[in-house]
C-alpha cells in the first residue's frame, strides 16, 4: 500500500512531477558529463605526460627522486630490465641517464674555435631503440632525424650525435648539421667534453622541457660521464593506466633488496598529481552547486506536495495511520522521482558521453597544461560518471524530503481537517 500510494501520488500533479524530474535529471546529466569530461581530460593529460616522456612508473636508486645525483645510479640496469620483461603488465621500459652540461654552438661551416652561443642544458642519455618502443620518441622530432643506433662509436675523440629541444635550439640558434661542444663533469671527477653534431630538433609539446633539454645516446652518455653499465632511471610503460598502482607494487616487490625505489607517476610527478587533485576539488564544488540547484527544485515540489495534501494527512492520521507511515510515504515519493531521474539521466548521459568521447571538443585557443598543449579534449565513460551523480540525486531526494515529511507526519488532524 505504501509504494502504491507513493507511486500514484507522484502522478497527481503530472506537470509538476515532469518539471521536478527534469530538474533532477538535468542535475544528474550535468554532474555525469562534468565527471566524464574531467576524467577524460585528465586521462588525456596523464597519458600524454606518461606515454610520451616519463612512463607511468619509474625505477631509481633509493633517494634519487628526493636528491637527484649523478652518483645515485641503477647498477647493471640490463639485469633490472630483464626482471621487468618478466612482469606481464609491463609493456616496455627505457633506461636513461640524466646530467647537466654547458652546450656551446659552433655553426656549420666554421672551422675556427669560435662559438657563437652557449646555454646550460640538461642532457639525457637514451637508448634510441627502447625509447622508440616505449615513448615513440621519433614522433617528437620535428626537424632532422633520430639518433642512430646505440652501437655507434662512443669514444671521446669521435663526434657524437645530439638532439636539441626546440626552444633550446632557438636559444642556441642551432639547426641540424651544426656542431657543438658539450662540457660537463663526469662521475669520476674528470672534465667531460665532446664534440657533437646536431642531428635533429625535438618538440615534446612541453615548452619548459624543450627549453632546457638535449638528448644523446645512452652508451655515449655512459662513456662520457663515466657511468658504464649504469642508468639513473628506468621508465616503465604499463599496459593499462588503471592498473598502475598494482603494477608499481608488483615491480617494487620484484626489485626488493636492490636499493632501488619504484614509484608511480603520482609520486614522481607529484606537483602535477597535486594540481590535478586541486582541480578535482573544483569539480566537487561544481557538482555541489549543480546538486544544490536540483535540491531547491525537489524541495519546492515536496513542500508543495505536503502543503496541498495537508487535509489528506489529517484524514490518514484520524484513521489511525502512524506518523512513521506518512514519513516513509513522502520520502518514498521523493526517492521514486530520484530513481526515475537516475534512469533517464543515465540514458541521456550515456548518449552525451559517447558523443563527447568520440568527437572531443576542439580547444581554441589550445589548452596549455603544465607546458603541455592540448588542442582537443575528449570525455571518458567510467562508473564514476554514474554512481557519483546517482548517490547525489538519491541523497538529495532523501535529505530534502526529510523535513517536509516530518512536518506532514506531525500534522494535527483536527487542524488539517479544517483546511479547505
Amino acid at each position: 500500500m505504501l509504494s502504491k500510494l507513493a507511486w500514484r501520488n507522484i502522478f497527481r500533479q503530472k506537470r509538476r512531477t515532469v518539471l521536478t524530474l527534469m530538474t533532477m535529471t538535468g542535475g544528474f546529466v550535468l554532474s555525469s558529463l562534468s565527471i566524464g569530461w574531467m576524467n577524460g581530460s585528465y586521462s588525456n593529460i596523464i597519458l600524454f605526460f606518461t606515454n610520451s616522456r616519463t612512463g607511468q612508473i619509474q625505477v631509481h636508486h633509493e633517494g634519487y627522486l628526493a636528491d637527484p645525483s649523478i652518483y645515485s645510479t641503477i647498477d647493471n640496469f640490463e639485469q633490472v630490465g630483464s626482471i621487468l620483461d618478466s612482469i606481464p603488465d609491463v609493456r616496455s621500459w627505457a633506461p636513461r641517464i640524466y646530467t647537466g652540461a654547458l652546450l656551446a654552438l659552433k655553426p656549420a661551416g666554421h672551422t675556427s674555435n669560435v662559438y657563437s652561443s652557449s646555454a646550460a642544458a640538461s642532457v639525457i642519455g637514451i637508448d634510441p631503440a627502447r625509447e622508440q618502443e616505449a615513448t615513440g620518441f621519433s614522433d617528437q622530432i620535428i626537424e632532422g632525424e633520430m639518433l642512430t643506433s646505440s652501437d655507434a662509436d662512443t669514444s671521446l675523440s669521435s663526434t657524437g650525435q645530439i638532439l636539441l629541444g626546440k626552444e633550446l635550439a632557438i636559444t642556441l640558434e642551432a639547426s641540424p648539421g651544426d656542431s657543438l661542444i658539450l662540457l660537463s663533469q663526469a662521475a669520476n671527477g674528470v672534465v667531460a667534453d665532446k664534440r657533437y653534431v646536431v642531428v635533429g630538433i625535438v618538440s615534446t609539446g612541453n615548452t619548459q622541457i624543450d627549453r632546457r633539454t638535449s638528448y644523446i645516446t645512452l652508451p655515449d652518455a655512459q662513456n662520457l660521464f663515466a657511468l658504464e653499465g649504469k642508468a639513473h632511471e628506468i621508465a616503465v610503460l604499463s599496459s593499462t593506466l588503471n592498473e598502475v598502482d598494482n603494477l608499481t607494487a608488483a615491480i617494487s616487490g620484484r626489485l626488493s633488496g636492490r636499493n632501488l625505489e619504484t614509484d608511480s607517476w603520482k609520486v614522481f610527478a607529484k606537483e602535477f598529481y597535486n594540481g590535478m587533485k586541486a582541480d578535482e576539488s573544483s569539480l566537487e564544488v561544481m557538482i555541489f552547486i549543480i546538486v544544490l540547484v536540483a535540491a531547491m527544485g525537489v524541495l519546492n515540489t515536496v513542500l508543495m506536495m505536503v502543503l496541498e495534501r495537508r487535509r489528506e494527512f489529517g484524514v490518514m492520521k484520524a484513521m489511525g495511520t502512524r506518523p512513521g507511515f506518512i514519513v516513509r510515504m513522502i520520502m518514498l515519493e521523493a526517492n521514486i522521482m530520484g530513481f526515475i531521474s537516475i534512469l533517464l539521466g543515465s540514458i541521456i548521459s550515456t548518449a552525451g558521453l559517447l558523443l563527447l568521447s568520440k568527437h572531443g571538443i576542439v580547444m581554441d585557443p589550445p589548452l596549455d597544461y603544465g607546458g603541455a598543449v592540448f588542442r582537443e579534449m575528449v570525455a571518458s565513460i567510467s562508473p564514476d560518471c554514474y554512481w557519483i551523480p546517482a548517490i547525489c540525486v538519491m541523497l538529495t531526494a532523501t535529505i530534502v524530503s526529510c523535513i517536509p515529511a516530518l512536518n506532514a507526519a506531525h500534522t494535527k488532524p483536527a487542524k488539517a481537517l479544517r483546511t479547505v
Partner: protein
C-alpha cells in the same frame, strides 16, 4: 444497550488562540457515551459540535478536562498509541467524504485493514461484503473522482465500518447529500447499529439524522443544553 462507557468526558474546555484572540469553542462539557448508542449532537453552526467530536476522539487536545476512551485516559496515550487506538476502535465519516483520490473504491475501503495487518483474502472479502451492503460492489475499481457525492459518502461509510470499530463518529455526514440519499444512508447505519450494537455518534443539524437518532444531545455556544429522545426535541 448496556452501560459500558465508550467515551467519558469531564470538564472539557477547548480554547482556540490561532489569531491571537482566544475563542472558547467548548465551555466545560461533561458527557458520557455508552455502548450501542445511536446519538446525534445537534446545534447550530459554530456551536462547537465538530470541536467537541475532535476532542473526545483524540483528534484535538482539550485545553482543560479529561477524556476517557474505553477506559483509557487520552492524555496519557503516546502518539502511536492514540493512532493505534483510533485505527482499531473508531471509524470516521467526514462531511467532505475525504476519500483518498489516488486509491480505488476497494483500496479506500481496505486502507484501515491494511494498517491493521488483516490478511489479503480476508480484506478482500470484507471489503466486497461491505460494498455490497452500501450498494457499490460494481464500483470497486473506480476512483472516487468518478463517483457522485452520495456514492462517495457511501464509500466513506463503508470505510468507517469495514474494520468493525466499536465507535463510529460521523461529522455532518449528510451535509452534502440529497434527502433521499441521506435517508437511505442513515437507515443503513441504523440497521447496522441494531444488528451489531455498533455505537454511532453524529454531529448534525440535519433533521433526517435527528429523526433517526435514538438520542439527541443539544449543544449551544459550546455548552451542553440537555439531551433527550428525538420526539421530545420535536
Amino acid at each position: 444497550m448496556n452501560n459500558e462507557k465508550i467515551i467519558e468526558a469531564k470538564g472539557i474546555i477547548k480554547t482556540y488562540d490561532d489569531s491571537g484572540v482566544p475563542v472558547q469553542a467548548v465551555r466545560g462539557i461533561d458527557y458520557t457515551l455508552t455502548k450501542g448508542e445511536f446519538t446525534a449532537i445537534i446545534g447550530p453552526s459554530g456551536s462547537g459540535k465538530t470541536t467537541f467530536l475532535n476532542v473526545i476522539t483524540g483528534l484535538d487536545t482539550p485545553t482543560e478536562g479529561e477524556v476517557w476512551l474505553s477506559g483509557r485516559l487520552l492524555s496519557k496515550m503516546s502518539g502511536n498509541e492514540l493512532s493505534d487506538f483510533r485505527r482499531d476502535h473508531i471509524g470516521f465519516i467526514f462531511q467532505a467524504y475525504n476519500l483518498f483520490p489516488v486509491l480505488t473504491v476497494e483500496e479506500n475501503v481496505e486502507y484501515i485493514m491494511l494498517l491493521q495487518g488483516v490478511p489479503k483474502e480476508e480484506r478482500h472479502n470484507r471489503v466486497m461484503s461491505m460494498l455490497e451492503k452500501v450498494g457499490l460492489a460494481d464500483y470497486a475499481q473506480r476512483l472516487p473522482s468518478r463517483l457522485s457525492g452520495g456514492q462517495q459518502q457511501r464509500v466513506a461509510v463503508a470505510r468507517a465500518m469495514v474494520s468493525k470499530p466499536s465507535l463510529v463518529i460521523a461529522d455532518e455526514p449528510t451535509a452534502n447529500l440529497d434527502s433521499k440519499t441521506s435517508g437511505a444512508l442513515l437507515d443503513m447505519m441504523r440497521q447496522l447499529n441494531e444488528d451489531t450494537g455498533m455505537t454511532f455518534l453524529f454531529s448534525t443539524h440535519d433533521e433526517i439524522v435527528m429523526r433517526r437518532a435514538k438520542k439527541l444531545v443539544v449543544l449551544t455556544d459550546g455548552k451542553l443544553d440537555g439531551n433527550s429522545p428525538p420526539e421530545e426535541y420535536e
